[in-house]
Symmetry: C2
């Protein structure tokens, strides 16, 4: 596999970008040989700077829901660009989109739009505190809610004060939640709930109904706001807030990623209970009112409503999971496949330092399939049975590869350094 262009770009990047790249799209923790730069994305495929094409199971880390450059959405974007995008005020599309989302998400009575998923979770934090003037917010340990001082997973540049009134609890443990709420007492402002546990380097777990119900009951008891952070999972589990499926309605839900199928837009939705607090906070951004991402989001909402995308993606996700499971069994590997099939997490048994998973993903990459060994993956609705067949051909060969090389595999140097840090 050629990588000379990617290498040359990395050398240039090392000079003008700190650490060569930053954030979640840095390949610093990926297996050696994973390309850093892409020059093309179409449908289910991405192409790197050296012209290598991959079936992409990361979907831009979520946004790609209907296939890159989906024709209907591309048309909506082009049409809107001729009218107005960022201007001195919003376009009427902000009203259309707020109505569309309120119509689709059961718990929601209103919407506010922004750019980053982290903007939406930050607004939720502020609204929870503005709601009754209380301070304490409960957050599940290791849950990812963005990368600001109050929630970034790394300590550099963060002060203890940035997290002074956060109380951490174990996900899916109603008693831990109850204890955390007691600790907050009269000062409990809000509870952050990930729709399911999707930490990196760990099995995913779906929420127990009992846990979700406890979160709702505790929020009500303390007159605090319940927040579901659907930024990562939104519209990949249901056509509503992800907890609607288990019958628990939050006061606030944070959305992003898939909302405009790749266009930069995120949202906070809320109910009438939270409306007054939401209108008191001052939050904004230079491009939050731009119309083009809203046009893309309206077309994405239409596709969500009018197509069987979710059923199709679920079927495709199941065949991917089943195919991997049977290949793993055939080649003598134990796989742990957790979470929703539309957001697959694939980890190997007996692989404490991830060396098997890393080698497996390298071997799949060499055969044109881009998987992640440590982050949940994402299915998209453009994937076909033929894509899955092609994927499984590659992963079948990858299992054979790692079966042969198993004894000589070494752990990832970057991962070892991270674990030691």
């Amino acid at each position: 596999m050629k990588n000379s262009q990617d290498s040359a770009l990395r050398e240039r990047a090392a000079r003008v970008i700190p650490g060569g790249m930053y954030g979640h799209q840095s390949t610093a923790l990926m297996p050696d040989g994973f390309p850093q730069f892409f020059t093309k994305a179409e449908g289910t495929r991405i192409t790197d700077a050296d012209g290598n094409e991959y079936i992409d199971y990361m979907c831009a880390y979520g946004p790609n829901l209907f296939g890159y450059n989906h024709p209907d959405i591309a048309r909506a974007i082009s049409a809107q660009q001729l009218k107005v995008d960022a201007a001195t005020g919003p376009s009427p599309l902000i009203v259309d989109l707020a109505e569309a989302m309120v119509g689709m998400v059961t718990h929601a009575d209103w919407a506010m739009f922004c750019k980053n998923g982290g903007d939406a979770t930050m607004m939720a934090l502020m609204i929870a505190r503005a709601y009754r003037g209380k301070r304490k917010v409960l957050v599940a340990k290791k849950a990812y809610h963005g990368a600001m001082p109050w929630n970034t997973p790394r300590p550099a540049g963060v002060l203890p004060e940035d997290r002074a009134h956060l109380i951490y609890f174990d996900y899916n443990d109603p008693q831990a939640l109850e204890d955390a709420a007691k600790e907050a007492g009269d000062d409990l402002a809000g509870i952050f709930a990930a729709p399911f546990r999707h930490d990196t380097f760990a099995d995913q777990s779906m929420p127990d109904r009992e846990y979700a119900q406890a979160a709702r009951r505790i929020a009500d008891k303390y007159d605090a706001l319940l927040i579901v952070d659907d930024v990562r999972a939104g519209f990949r589990i249901c056509r509503d807030c992800s907890w609607e499926a288990i019958g628990v309605r939050p006061d606030l839900s944070a959305w992003g990623k898939t909302l405009g199928n790749g266009q930069p837009i995120s949202a906070l939705l809320g109910n009438d209970r939270a409306r007054a607090a939401a209108s008191k906070i001052f939050v904004t951004g230079s491009f939050w009112f731009a119309a083009v991402p809203m046009a893309a989001a309206l077309e994405t909402m239409r596709l969500i409503r009018e197509t069987e995308y979710l059923e199709h993606m679920t079927m495709i996700g199941e065949s991917f999971r089943q195919g991997l499971a049977s290949q793993a069994a055939d080649s003598g590997f134990g796989l742990r496949q957790t979470g929703p099939v539309t957001l697959p997490m694939v980890l190997f048994e007996d692989d404490p330092d991830f060396r098997i998973g890393y080698a497996f993903c390298q071997a799949a990459l060499q055969r044109g399939v881009y998987l992640s060994p440590y982050h949940n993956m994402f299915m998209n609705a453009a994937m076909t049975c033929s894509d899955i067949a092609q994927t499984l051909e590659a992963t079948g060969a990858a299992f054979e590869d790692i079966k042969r090389s198993r004894a000589s595999l070494k752990p990832s140097a970057a991962l070892t350094a991270l674990a030691d840090a």
Copy 2:
């Protein structure tokens, strides 16, 4: 002037958006009759939902630098959309753009891209603290650096801890800066400097060279980072960091607004001194690596380098300022026009509750010119002498209007409510 569509949209918005609208593009504080929604933006003009067209002196609150939907930039956007936008990694354009900005901004050795101006100032805050593990950051009173808990201008949803280690000083006062630094002592991490004072409802003021030099000297003395927040003013004062014009180089500069002429992109630039700290923080966003806004930014950079846009915009800004000054004198009003001519602030003498300024802007709006009575305005490079002539015709009539109605003007109810709050 028709406004039935705008009114109908406001009624719908009041149901599905908290307070009917939020953030800096809410017209809540604007004079009555200012439209909330726009359906078209082209060149120097915006059109509201009722079809009324205005010469726009707000330029999307900054982003519109070369005219809305500039053909060269629109072409760059369309071409890039066919290749890749948001994907599983950045495109090579992130390297091209980092090189272009480092080549243009003298103090900068590296660049990181993000979406909101507030992302860039937040990164500066975190890097200043990561740099030597110190905590205190100096910020000018009332300066706007974004709308997160640490810097939003309204108190709702904000805790004292969010600002625990900020120390406020008076802009342009070297002694106040020195005193604040002494208060921070060994714990001084950074100094935020607006390129010039551009608070709302107040005269702008340019930085004294002595003040800017003091900021640099103090940062060096305490081994802290000096940050210039150029989000609002960038590329409207010079083709470099705004303080380059007075010979003072920061360690970090925050950029946004004009960078992609309306496409959603902002940036933090820094020097080698700040590089290690910048590579330690973990910051990211779903759409930070998207290629289309970078393609727009590269084309915007090219126009900045290769055209006389700044000289033209300055000339146009001067004729706007001179025209207003002479009309004001002729009609017996005192005007205070402050700040750079490319970011004009126009306030009336003897107008403590802004009733004259509000009435003036209303009268201009009725004649097709969109001005702000309380926020600095923005010139763009597409404006022509004929636009200024048309504008001055409208403002001339507006001065006549308010001269006639002066005795009966009433203060804005929204503004009175804000002052009382």
